[in-house]
């Protein structure tokens, strides 16, 4: 008896997300994955799921109901137990950009190209490739053995400086512009989504006419538009692009950046590639990310 999850109402975009579909960029398919990898892992682990299981990524309020069996539900690591037919109102996130709602057994929407997450631009994955709405019913996987789980400390520090490696297009910027990136305080723009986070602050001007041909992209790359606005590419970024990349956010800091709500300050700190790799190893160990489907 696997049961299902009813969506009673939603207040802002809610999608199904997992740790993404790496390895499909050559089809033009971005890697996907959670905006805040550590929160998805935390929610999943607290209900006994593997860290990569599909869950809800909610920008706003969402109301759910257990159907067919009692359910244990984790909201950013806080567990709720629902009787069959009982509903739960998950309030809109208050301190962060999103909440993760994991259900024991995981959301068993079909895997597409190796992932269950929603890619809105291609209407792919998740529930019919779209935002969830009232009346949707999501299938659930079989519940795992009760989690013998030790509470993970919630270590998200959304005030910490965001670490970047400079480049690869640093040469296309004046040294003073690079210095501005590393010294100024930016704020998260309201027009940010899973494709990219737009930052407000001093313009990072460059003489680039944007005539450059398309180049490879990666999540975390900070592209700078013709008007000097930095955009940090998110999990659903276009796989190629023409704007110069002034720096790239290290992978260990994707979550502490993307957890920030519009209006939150962002400062950047340059680190070496070795420091970035060291930070990643620590991050992966802390979250217990195995080989499979690491974000």
């Amino acid at each position: 008896m696997t049961g299902s999850l009813d969506i009673i109402s939603v207040g802002a975009p809610v999608t199904v997300q997992d740790t993404g579909r790496p390895g499909q960029m050559h089809h033009g398919v971005p890697p996907g994955g959670p905006l805040v990898p550590e929160l998805l892992a935390l929610s999943n682990r607290t209900v006994g799921n593997p860290h990569w299981a599909a869950a809800l990524e909610a920008f706003g309020r969402v109301e759910l109901r257990a159907r067919g069996r009692p359910l244990r539900v984790s909201v950013d690591g806080r567990i709720h137990t629902l009787a069959d037919g009982e509903s739960l109102l998950v309030p809109a996130p208050e301190t962060r950009s999103v909440r993760y709602v994991a259900v024991e057994g995981g959301l068993a929407v079909p895997a597409v190209l190796g992932g269950r997450g929603t890619l809105l631009v291609a209407k792919l994955g998740g529930h019919a490739g779209r935002l969830l709405r009232a009346g949707d019913t999501l299938p659930l996987g079989a519940a795992n053995a009760p989690a013998s789980f030790q509470a993970l400390g919630d270590t998200l520090d959304t005030a910490a400086p965001i670490r970047v490696t400079l480049g690869p297009d640093t040469r296309r910027f004046e040294p003073a512009t690079v210095a501005t990136l590393l010294s100024a305080t930016f704020t998260v723009s309201a027009s940010s989504d899973r494709v990219g986070m737009r930052l407000e602050g001093p313009a990072l001007t460059h003489g680039d006419e944007g005539a450059g041909t398309s180049r490879p992209m990666v999540r975390g790359a900070i592209q700078v538009t013709l008007s000097g606005t930095p955009i940090v590419l998110g999990p659903d970024h276009p796989t190629t692009g023409g704007y110069p990349l002034i720096a790239t956010v290290i992978r260990a800091d994707w979550g502490t950046l993307c957890a920030r709500r519009p209006g939150t300050p962002v400062r950047f700190q340059g680190v070496s590639l070795d420091e970035a790799r060291h930070a990643w190893r620590e991050f992966a160990e802390r979250l217990g990310l195995g080989e499979r489907h690491s974000p």
Binding site: V121, V218, G241
Partner: protein, 429 residues
């Protein structure tokens, strides 16, 4: 990393392969000491000019009988004069062809003897400077008397490694005549070249023109050096952006890169390749995979041809025609007249960049992108054309609408893959 150059000892033997002059960055031309005469030097200089190798002098002890491989007992003064005479002879012949001689490398036994004896090293450098001036790079061992003497005289110095010579664990060369002294196996020579060129201690590597299979070996070494000279830039901690070498087959490049251990994905764009990996598990030098491809081009069959039916009704068709000075019907004819090739796949799932567009209709992208381009719109941006697989923002000039075309399916991925051929066919009036 600055470029590591290939130098080849040439003009030594009759019947040497002219291809070596195309593979060498620097030709060390024997100038009468251990081998070579006016005729061989003229021939070598002519081949340098024709194939683009830079000419260098390769002076030696005067010992043609022993091919310069025996240490001789000459005074520094005698040695200086011998080196000067040999270099001046090459210089005179080069001047006839208006070729500069900007490199010099002592040959054989002198190479080792001079490096161990400051007086001999000074004699070599004095002779070189007297004949060739100070705008010369002396090639020699990584450290020792030759480097010291070159520096004291204000010459540039290139630290040399040997691609085709085996090394002992302490880094010194295995003496000739002992097993493993000369590497004829290409894989070993390649690995040796990578080790030398990436060590930071070597500015130029040598292939001996008289090593068996020298041409193939030099080709291997040159391709390896060329690959290592291409820019390779970290794109964050989990990706590496490489500049695609000219003339490489794009689809084969993707296949080769994605087959490398630890590479999770590989993407080809107009001028770059990019490999993606876990930050704690970067792949080994992916540029070498591209070098292998350049050396042994794939023998792919012809890629499939896809015909896409198009109604030429795009919002920008009129503007494109006006800009090109053509009628709208002529724009459509220009667009359908060619066969295109998929140059890259990216931006959106299934979006294929097709080239080359007829220059008459190759209009630049819109100065302000649209926030929403409908799915299946056919666009032009510069020399590229393509079909939007999904409704999305976009800055291409829209000239039509594709009919019955599915650019992307979850089962197959992108319908158009790198290297595939595409034609457009006009439907309706």
């Amino acid at each position: 990393m600055t470029e590591c150059l290939l130098n080849v000892d040439l003009g030594e033997l009759p019947g040497e392969d002219a291809q070596l002059y195309a593979l060498a960055h620097i030709a060390n031309i024997a100038c009468g000491g251990h081998a070579g005469d006016d005729a061989s030097m003229r021939h070598a200089l002519e081949l340098c000019e024709r194939h683009g190798a830079r000419a260098g002098a390769h002076p030696s002890y005067e010992d043609r009988e022993g091919f310069g491989r025996r240490a001789l007992d000459v005074t520094p003064e005698q040695l200086r004069n011998q080196i000067e005479a040999q270099c001046a002879r090459l210089r005179a012949l080069a001047t006839e062809r208006r070729l500069p001689v900007r490199y010099a490398k002592p040959h054989g036994a002198l190479y080792h003897a001079a490096n161990a004896a400051p007086a001999l090293a000074r004699a070599v450098v004095d002779g070189v400077v007297s004949a060739l001036g100070t705008d010369v790079t002396l090639i020699g061992p990584g450290a020792g008397a030759l480097r010291d003497a070159a520096r004291a005289a204000g010459l540039s110095y290139a630290r040399e490694g040997f691609a085709d010579r085996g090394t002992l664990p302490d880094g010194s060369l295995i003496p000739r005549g002992q097993p493993g002294a000369v590497l004829t196996d290409h894989a070993l020579a390649r690995a040796n070249t990578v080790r030398l060129a990436t060590s930071g201690n070597v500015d130029t590597v040598c292939v001996h023109g008289d090593t068996p299979g020298a041409v193939e070996l030099a080709r291997e070494v040159r391709a390896t050096l060329d690959a290592l000279a291409l820019p390779s830039e970290p794109l964050g901690d989990g990706a590496l952006r490489l500049v695609l070498p000219e003339g490489i087959e794009r689809r084969a490049a993707r296949d080769a890169l994605s087959a490398l251990p630890r590479v999770l994905d590989a993407v080809i764009t107009e001028e770059h390749a990019c490999v993606y990996f876990r930050p704690d598990a970067p792949p080994e030098e992916p540029r070498l995979a591209l070098a292998r491809l350049l050396r042994v081009p794939p023998t792919n069959g012809e890629r499939p041809l896809t015909t896409i039916r198009v109604r030429y009704d795009g919002q920008d068709l009129h503007a494109v025609a006006a800009r090109a000075g053509l009628t709208e019907a002529e724009v459509a004819r220009c667009h359908t007249a060619r066969e295109y090739t998929v140059r890259c796949v990216g931006f959106l799932p299934g979006f294929a960049y097709l080239g080359e567009v007829d220059p008459r209709i190759a209009v630049p992208r819109l100065s302000t992108p649209r926030t929403r381009v409908p799915a299946l719109a056919v666009g032009i941006a510069g020399e590229r054309t393509g079909v939007y697989p999904f409704a999305s923002p976009g800055g291409w000039n829209l000239i039509g609408t594709a009919l019955d075309f599915t650019a992307f399916t979850p089962e197959q991925g992108a319908a158009l893959q790198l290297g595939d051929r595409v034609r457009f066919e006009q439907v309706g009036g």
